[in-house]
């Protein structure tokens, strides 16, 4: 009798979870967006710092990142594995297959005391190189070098190459987490001529594209995006809509209004989302409660 009750309870929990999945999947639609063209440039919403679950301590597979980028309204992503580029190649292959966002081959070179994000590269760059050699190699491969979350602890590491950085992360989820992080990133950026970059450094928490870069590129190709970063044609929106980047492009974006709006996606859950969350959590509680350890069996 007790076993029958257990089975019924587990089935009920499973049904709750299934209902949650059905509702969640039904409301999970990629936004339909008209391309934005300003000043003769295509405005591309991009996230240049993302990690996949294939050997790069991320939460989604490379192809999962591509699909999630579509759902978060991104036109381009760089998949930046730690010291490897294989997952970025898989993501690019998949995205080309489904006509998804532009995927740039990237790598995060996480050395001490500096983390460099290389994008638009063709081969993995050895992290054993010193930072000047790393950046020279990135440039030789046709890519751009971005200072990743350059908090104060990384400043000495970047000191020899401040004039050679192509971009610097000015918006990073750390600005919402640590007191003073925003000021640190601003101070670092003020000492370089590098393009303003907004990146989510997505590992699973937060949202892909939580911080994003608006690139004013000639077209949507990886080459055009890299060229635009090199030419500093970027705009980034940070906390409370604070704008960074090329002053003329910021004016253009503000006058148009669509770019600032795209910079702050609406993450507030709908009533259907709330229902799905409630059912899902209730279902999971039921399933865990029904899976007891051996002593209780």
């Amino acid at each position: 009798m007790a076993d029958e009750v257990d089975v019924m309870a587990m089935r009920f929990a499973g049904a709750l979870l299934a209902a949650s999945v059905i509702i969640g999947t039904a409301v999970d639609r990629a936004p339909v967006r008209e391309p934005i063209v300003l000043g003769g440039y295509r405005v591309i919403a991009a996230d240049f710092h993302t990690h996949s679950s294939t050997w790069s301590d991320g939460a989604l597979t490379p192809w999962g990142l591509v699909l999630e980028a579509q759902h978060q309204g991104l036109d381009a992503i760089a998949v930046t594995g730690h010291r490897q580029t294989q997952d970025a190649r898989w993501a690019r292959w998949f995205s080309e297959l489904i006509g998804g966002p532009t995927v740039l081959i990237g790598e995060e070179i996480p050395e001490i005391p500096h983390h460099v994000v290389a994008i638009g590269i063709t081969e993995t760059i050895a992290s054993s190189l010193d930072i000047a050699a790393q950046i020279a190699e990135i440039h030789r491969q046709g890519g751009v070098a971005i200072a990743a979350h350059p908090g104060e602890m990384f400043w000495t590491g970047f000191a020899p190459v401040m004039d050679r950085l192509d971009g610097t992360e000015i918006c990073h989820p750390a600005i919402y987490q640590y007191v003073g992080a925003e000021e640190m990133l601003e101070q670092f950026a003020s000492r370089t001529r590098a393009a303003a970059i907004g990146s989510s450094d997505f590992h699973g928490l937060g949202r892909l594209g939580l911080c994003r870069t608006f690139v004013f590129a000639r077209d949507t190709s990886a080459e055009a995006i890299v060229e635009a970063i090199r030419a500093r044609r970027t705009v980034v929106y940070g906390r409370e809509g604070k704008a960074y980047g090329d002053a003329e492009l910021i004016k253009l974006a503000e006058a148009d209004g669509r770019v600032p709006k795209a910079a702050r996606p609406d993450y507030s859950p709908s009533a259907w989302d709330r229902l799905s969350q409630l059912l899902g959590v209730a279902g999971l509680i039921g399933l865990i409660a029904g899976s007891r350890w051996p002593a209780a069996r």
Binding site: L17, S20, V21, G24, T25, V27, D28, S53, T54, W55, S56, D57, G58, A59, L60, T61, W63, G64, L67, E68, H71, G81, H82, R83, Q84, P110, E111, I112, S127, P173, A174, Y176, Q177, Y178, G204, L205, G206, R207, L208, L210, Y267, P269, D273, S276, Q277, G280, V281, L284, I285, L287, I288, S291, R292, W293, P294, A295, R297
Partner: protein, 179 residues
């Protein structure tokens, strides 16, 4: 029988990733999350298989493995708490979960050891000391395998060791904020 509790773990991981990454439970993200974190049940199974091979209990491997995975129950509750926190907090505040996660990580780590020691004692009628060795052996196989896969190439650099410094800093910053 083998697949029941390992699949439950995979299901929880998939659902968790979906909720945490998007605030929604979708088939797309749950399947992707379950695949992404399949290395966890697989590495646990590998560790258990080593101990099972050494002890050769009377219970069939599939049945024993399923019962062994019941030791994950504290982890499942912990994961559920993480999911609820991620649902409640707005995405830009998810970073605040880092330190509490790292601190509370210890609770299921310790509890699951107690459960697993008891499991190995029941399984082959071992002494407490021998059961502890089995748990340690299982962890010695499964945890490094899981970390090596998850961290990948980063685990072979100096950065890997620096990770522990960063974890310490993260916890210290959080404790300072709340004291």
């Amino acid at each position: 029988m083998l697949a029941r509790r390992p699949l439950l773990l995979a299901l929880l991981l998939g659902c968790g990733i979906s909720f945490i990454a998007s605030g929604r439970l979708t088939l797309r993200l749950a399947a992707d999350g379950a695949l992404s974190f399949a290395f966890l049940p697989l590495s646990e199974l590998a560790g258990f298989a080593v101990v099972y091979g050494l002890r050769r209990p009377a219970t069939a491997f599939a049945d024993a493995a399923d019962r062994f995975f019941a030791g994950n129950t504290p982890w499942l509750w912990w994961l559920l708490a993480v999911i609820i926190a991620a649902i409640v907090l707005p995405p830009h505040r998810h970073g605040e979960l880092g330190a509490p996660l790292l601190i509370t990580f210890l609770i299921p780590t310790v509890l699951s050891v107690f459960i697993d020691v008891r499991f190995f004692r029941d399984l082959v009628g071992e002494s407490r000391g021998r059961a502890r060795i089995d748990v340690a052996l299982q962890r010695l196989v499964s945890w490094p395998a899981a970390f090596a896969y998850f961290l990948g190439m980063a685990s072979s650099s100096r950065t890997f060791f620096y990770l522990f410094v960063e974890i310490g800093d993260e916890i210290a910053a959080w404790l300072t904020k709340w004291t």
